[in-house]
Amino acid sequence: MAEYMLETKNLGISFGGLKAAQDVNIRIKKNQLYGLIGPNGAGKTTIFNLLTCIYKPTTGTFYLDGEEMVGFAPHKINQKGIARTFQNIRLFNNMTVVRNVMVGLHNRPEYKCSVLESFFRLPRHFKVEKEMREKAKELLRIFGLEEERNNLACNLPYGKQRKLEIARALATNPKILLLDEPAAGMNPNETEDLAQTIRFIRDNFDMTILLIEHDMRFVSELCDELTVLSFGTVLAQGDTKTVLQDPEVIKAYIGG
């Protein structure tokens, strides 16, 4: 067990001459709620894409639970234990809610079932299908989506789509959960509800969570520690209260 669940070392990427992120050092302890904030275009989502190996870093590396993660394929990264949600929701729209979550359960070792076992309809196939459905229902119950489980994902209201995306990410049994602006476009009630859900996940799933957010109240309420990015570089880092009072941070946000 490494000291940090997620640790980046001088992580950086440049697209041509544009340094989208450089020298980003983030250390997240187990079971921590960590915030990544910064003005538009600061490189927050770029960091997420680096951490999920959609981009390959040009400098630096990062470790999950002590294991170096650079160079894996995106689906392998998920299997290693990094799950994410997207800024613009990406659900499997034409599939039912319960099946969205079941896709998340796909790679869990306890639901292993080879293609041939499915072709020949061996008992294992039925057992796995049944167990996956039960497990998915259980997860949906936590998120208050059980009643909606047979609706198509695209027919869910916005707030519930966000929750479903988190549920699907959780279904993959990650070590760390990356949430990209989970509260974007939500009204205050939904935001409050979401904050409770995120805390619940942290406490009950023993989860480490890294989130990007613009809503300062949401961040200050929720996160233990913050990293502020601006133009791809780290502006400030540390415990939430101190960081939010840092004059540099206020300047970057309000301008001046």
């Binding site: 394929a73 800024q87 613009n88 796909h106 293609v115």
Partner: protein
């Protein structure tokens, strides 16, 4: 609908096709006097069903447009036909050479499935459509330019037609096997992964789905089944002409899939039967000067079905007056009770339209911003 623990909806297509085959088989065996044109039509229908169902795997469930399905069939027909032409003189026209030809034909087509599947991992939408289209044409030309001794060249490959009347029964048994393979694949966690890739590839990848594996597997399966249809074709004809497997034929198979509702297997089966029958029946009715009307009528029928499938008012009409809605009228409806969706495998993944398939945005990284804008 449930009958005890067995879900009828899951097995209805096996039941209908199985029963029909049994009845027709018994009728034919008891000397009901099926003439050869009817037998030939039945064989053709079976071949069409196999092709439509296997293409529906790629187009309906994986969401990739393939215009080279006839190419895979062509490979099956030529390789399988050649194998049977070599084996039949020594082994007699029995089941054993048929099975060997089927296996070899499927395997050859599957290998080509890999060849086409690999670019399919990088290309999407229109670009993949063009690659598959080119593949079909290449295969056709290759066989056309072989020497007369190997694959017949311009004369076509002479194949031994199966000499028993019950070839159509064998064909329909193969239809059932195709159905079993495709449906068992789709109605499993693997099929769910495939539909997830169709719905949102980036999200599927981020959810840990091995996109490469499932795309390739789906392409290979689809190609192998098309190869099987090809072998059947070579057995139901005396001669295999590569010109038959041009893009027109690929489009015809695609039309069956689209008309049936993409991702709807039963729909594809019905469309395959109707179109094959129409193609055989129209030329017998419209002869002489009226022959020019054949294509016109065929096109009209297609237009009417597409409108029926897509016009909003007709859609609403179908939603109100369909079998399910009628059944519900007779049943007590309890909104608090939510049924599990086990029985609805085929209903759910049908919503992509042709527009969507054709308008997939191609960016060099294949991971660029999506339609809505913004980043990932």
């Amino acid at each position: 609908m449930r009958l005890g623990k067995v879900k009828i909806n899951h097995y209805i297509n096996y039941l209908v096709i199985g029963l029909m085959t049994l009845v027709l088989g018994v009728m034919s065996a008891s000397g009901a006097g099926f003439d050869s044109s009817l037998l030939f039509l039945l064989e053709k229908i079976a071949i069409s069903i196999i092709l439509a169902v296997s293409l529906s795997l790629v187009v309906g469930f994986l969401g990739e447009l393939s215009l080279g399905h006839a190419g895979f069939m062509c490979i099956g027909a030529y390789i399988g036909g050649k194998v049977s032409a070599l084996l039949v003189p020594s082994m007699g026209n029995s089941l054993v050479p048929l099975l060997i030809a089927l296996l070899v034909g499927c395997a050859a087509a599957a290998v080509c499935g890999v060849i086409v599947g690999i670019p399919a991992l990088r290309l999407r939408g229109d670009y993949l459509a063009i690659v598959t289209l080119a593949f079909g044409e290449i295969v056709k030309s290759l066989f056309l330019n072989t020497s007369e001794k190997t694959f017949g060249g311009t004369l076509g490959l002479d194949t031994p037609r199966y000499d028993k009347d019950y070839l159509f029964v064998i064909a329909f048994v193969l239809v059932l096997i195709t159905l079993a393979i495709v449906q068992n694949y789709i109605r499993s966690k693997h099929g769910r992964a495939v539909t997830a890739i169709r719905d949102n590839e980036i999200a599927a990848r981020a959810t840990g789905i091995n996109v490469t594996k499932y795309k390739l597997l789906t392409f290979i399966l689809s190609a192998a089944l098309a190869g099987m249809a090809g072998v059947l074709y070579s057995y139901s004809n005396y001669n295999v002409q590569s010109l038959k497997f041009g893009y027109n034929y690929s489009i015809e198979i695609l039309v069956m899939v689209v008309l049936g509702g993409m991702g709807n297997i039963n729909g594809s089966i019905i469309a395959a039967v109707l179109i094959t029958w129409l193609n055989t029946w129209l030329p017998t009715k419209l002869t002489g000067d009226l022959a020019v009307l054949q294509n016109l009528l065929y096109a009209l029928v297609l237009i009417v079905i597409v409108i029926y499938n897509n016009a909003p008012k007709l859609k609403a009409f179908r939603d109100t007056y369909n079998f399910g809605a009628l059944m519900r009228k007779f049943q007590k409806h309890d909104p608090a009770h939510i049924k599990d969706d086990n029985a609805k495998w085929d209903v759910v993944p049908t919503k992509i339209s042709m527009d969507e398939v054709l308008s997939v945005d191609f960016t060099p990284q294949n991971l660029g911003p999506d339609k809505k804008g913004g980043d990932k």
